[in-house]
């Protein structure tokens, strides 16, 4: 991709334009699509960073990059090697989306034996597959961008902050904080389950805004009261399986879910 614009300035100060590469492992590529999706701001986005590798958007590839945005989880042996190489080259490695951060929907298969999974999915022509792991199981991750998919506004803000050298902070509070500010009717009032009280905010209560309970795709908030969440689900008549299904869906709560399963 050609350099679309000259170096940008912010209040007269020229900005350093980092070289960015996108990579994907086992994923649906939905997170990368979110970034491409925003046509109105795409050119501005591209003027802040120099994209040298983005399979979904361009043919050219380069191994000379500073920031690697890595989507997907690790589920095959060869992926491990590739990820380690990316880590060696990148100054900053960003886990993009819930698959990269926690394993994502893919890690659902970890509940079952690998033989069963292979047979169920690939039938008589099995392929190599391992238990699903998030990036940080294998390499050091410098920054996580949560969400399934990530929210483009959030990614854009992060890129702006990287460009102007501002600290990147994620919300530490749970979804309920945003949900109340959006004046939604609480799903529990409507008789629906929701993981909003324990899930990290930042999506602007995306699902409850459309009257869907949260499934916890952004993983746990920073002060998570899982015991109380369990009680609330029970009091509202939801089974242990209902909460487990949600806790296990994206992998962010896997340690909590394992605890629950043990009991």
């Amino acid at each position: 991709m050609n350099d679309p614009t000259p170096v940008r300035t912010y209040l007269g100060v020229p900005l350093y334009r980092p070289r960015v590469a996108f990579f994907e492992f086992s994923s649906c590529e939905g997170c990368q699509l979110q970034i491409l999706n925003n046509e109105a701001t795409l050119l501005d986005f591209l003027s802040l960073v120099e994209v040298v590798n983005f399979r979904e958007a361009m043919k050219e590839r380069s191994d000379d990059y500073e920031i690697a945005l890595v989507e997907g989880s690790i589920t095959r042996g060869d992926e491990t090697g590739r990820l380690k190489k990316i880590r060696e080259k990148a100054k900053v490695l960003v886990a993009l989306g819930s698959c990269a951060c926690f394993g994502g929907v893919n890690q659902l298969k970890n509940r079952f034996g690998l033989d069963w999974v292979k047979k169920e999915v690939y039938g008589d022509s099995p392929i190599e597959t391992e238990y699903v792991r998030p990036l940080e199981d294998i390499v050091k991750v410098d920054l996580k961008i949560f969400g399934c998919p990530v929210k483009k506004e959030e990614v854009e803000n992060i890129i702006i902050n990287i460009a102007i050298g501002k600290a990147i902070v994620h919300p530490k509070y749970p979804i309920c904080t945003e949900c109340k500010a959006n004046e939604n009717i609480c799903l529990f009032d409507l008789g629906e389950p929701c993981l909003g009280p324990i899930t990290r905010g930042g999506c602007n209560s995306w699902c409850p805004n459309s009257r869907f309970g949260c499934w916890g795709c952004r993983g746990p908030a920073e002060d998570t009261n899982i015991e109380q969440m369990k009680k609330i689900m029970k009091e509202h008549g939801f089974s242990e399986d209902t909460i487990l299904d949600r806790l296990e869906c994206f992998g962010g709560f896997s340690s909590y879910a394992q605890e629950l399963r043990k009991k």
Binding site: R8, T9, Y10, L11, G12, T41, D44, F45, L48, E156, N157, I159, I160, I164, K172, Y173, P174, C176, T177, K180, A181, N182, E183, I185, C186, F188, D189, L190, G191, G196, P197, I198, A221, E222, D223, N225, E227, Q228, M229, K231, I232
Partner: protein, 347 residues
């Protein structure tokens, strides 16, 4: 104060006069909960028939009209070597509030003390507040209401007129010229002795209906003595640190400010958003130190601000007893229970 009475049919006429030239906010039903009970909210109303005069408590106070959950404080336009700031108080016309209960009016009176009465009044609030015309409406105490314990069951000021249903008639207290002039549009009468008697009867009937009480005697002292009490830890174990209690509270005003830059680098924004002392990083300072990392200490300070600090500063508590926080808290933490538990320790 001037009193009048008017026929029930006249209220619709009054509404129609008001709505013809103003934006009217009133209680409406926005849905039904799982028990088929109505869910109320303060929304803009265009027709009298959608106003639910019999509403109980709205899930959220009318906060969005005077303390928006999210508000743009300033926008900046940035050029190569210059920048300009634009401030907007985000109010373009007055609002008529058609039917606020006494607790919500008292909540505004309390907010005024902090946000208007301090050395640095908050202009964003002041601009909206000056553009509020308030019609109060009497109510029926619900099982969670404890406004009477907090001295907030009647409003003495902070409204333009206050309407009480006294059977066949509405009894109205008038506090402002504007209200008096509005009432010229409908047929009203001077109340007679019987109307006064009827009004007193309605008030005393209402007072009998309170089932939840909070003992506030010596509460500031008791809170001081029970600072280290274990009951706080028990409540802390239940708390989800979700901030819902502050969001639904008509008197909570804490906020955070965020500065963001547009992706084209030509604009920037300063945004205010309401926060809560129960959230994990409420007392986190630059450098990362958190003065209240534990849930129980944050929950405790919410009670200390409302029932101790504020009382010491203003001789009244920062709680009107509307019961919204307890109703909305998924963990079932209610003000009456928390305070009773703290008092229990003392007694």
């Amino acid at each position: 104060m001037i009193f009048r009475v008017f026929d029930k049919d006249e209220l619709k006429k009054l509404f129609n006069v008001m709505v013809s030239a103003n934006k009217v906010i009133g209680p409406v039903e926005i849905g039904r909960d799982r028990d088929n009970k109505p869910i109320y909210a303060f929304n803009e109303v265009k027709s009298f028939d959608s106003v639910r005069l019999d509403y109980t408590t709205t899930k959220l106070p009318a906060k969005r009209y005077f303390l928006p959950f999210k508000e743009n404080l300033a926008t900046f336009s940035l050029d190569a070597d210059d920048w300009q700031k634009k401030v907007d108080y985000n109010i373009d016309r007055p609002f008529i509030f058609f039917g606020l209960h006494a607790c919500d009016i008292n909540a505004l009176n309390k907010l005024d003390k902090v946000l208007l009465g301090s050395i640095y009044p908050m202009p964003y609030y002041a601009a909206k507040r000056e553009n509020m015309f308030i019609i109060g409406l009497d109510c029926t105490p619900q099982p969670y209401c404890f406004c009477r314990s907090m001295g907030a069951d009647t409003a003495l000021h902070g409204f333009d007129m206050f309407i009480t249903d006294v059977g066949d008639l509405y009894f109205v207290e008038i506090l402002s010229d504007t209200a008096f002039n509005f009432l010229k549009n409908i047929k009203t009468a001077e109340p007679v002795e019987d109307d006064h008697i009827q009004y007193m009867k309605v008030v005393s009937e209402k007072n009998k209906k309170f089932t939840t009480h909070v003992d506030t005697t010596d509460l500031t002292k008791i809170l001081d003595m029970e600072f280290q009490s274990d009951v706080w830890k028990q409540w802390g174990e239940q708390c989800l640190a979700c901030g819902t209690c502050s969001k639904v509270c008509p008197t909570c005003y804490c906020y955070g400010v965020e500065e963001t830059i547009d992706i084209n680098l030509h604009g920037a924004k300063k945004t205010k958003f309401l926060y809560s002392c129960n959230l994990i990083d409420f007392a986190e300072v630059a450098g990362g130190h958190n003065f209240r990392p534990e849930r129980h200490s944050r929950l405790k300070y919410r009670y200390y601000h409302k029932h101790r600090g504020f009382v010491e500063a203003y001789e009244e508590s920062l709680c009107v007893g509307c019961g919204r926080c307890g109703e909305a808290c998924l963990a079932g933490i209610t003000v009456p229970e928390v305070i009773a538990s703290v008092r229990g320790e003392a007694g």
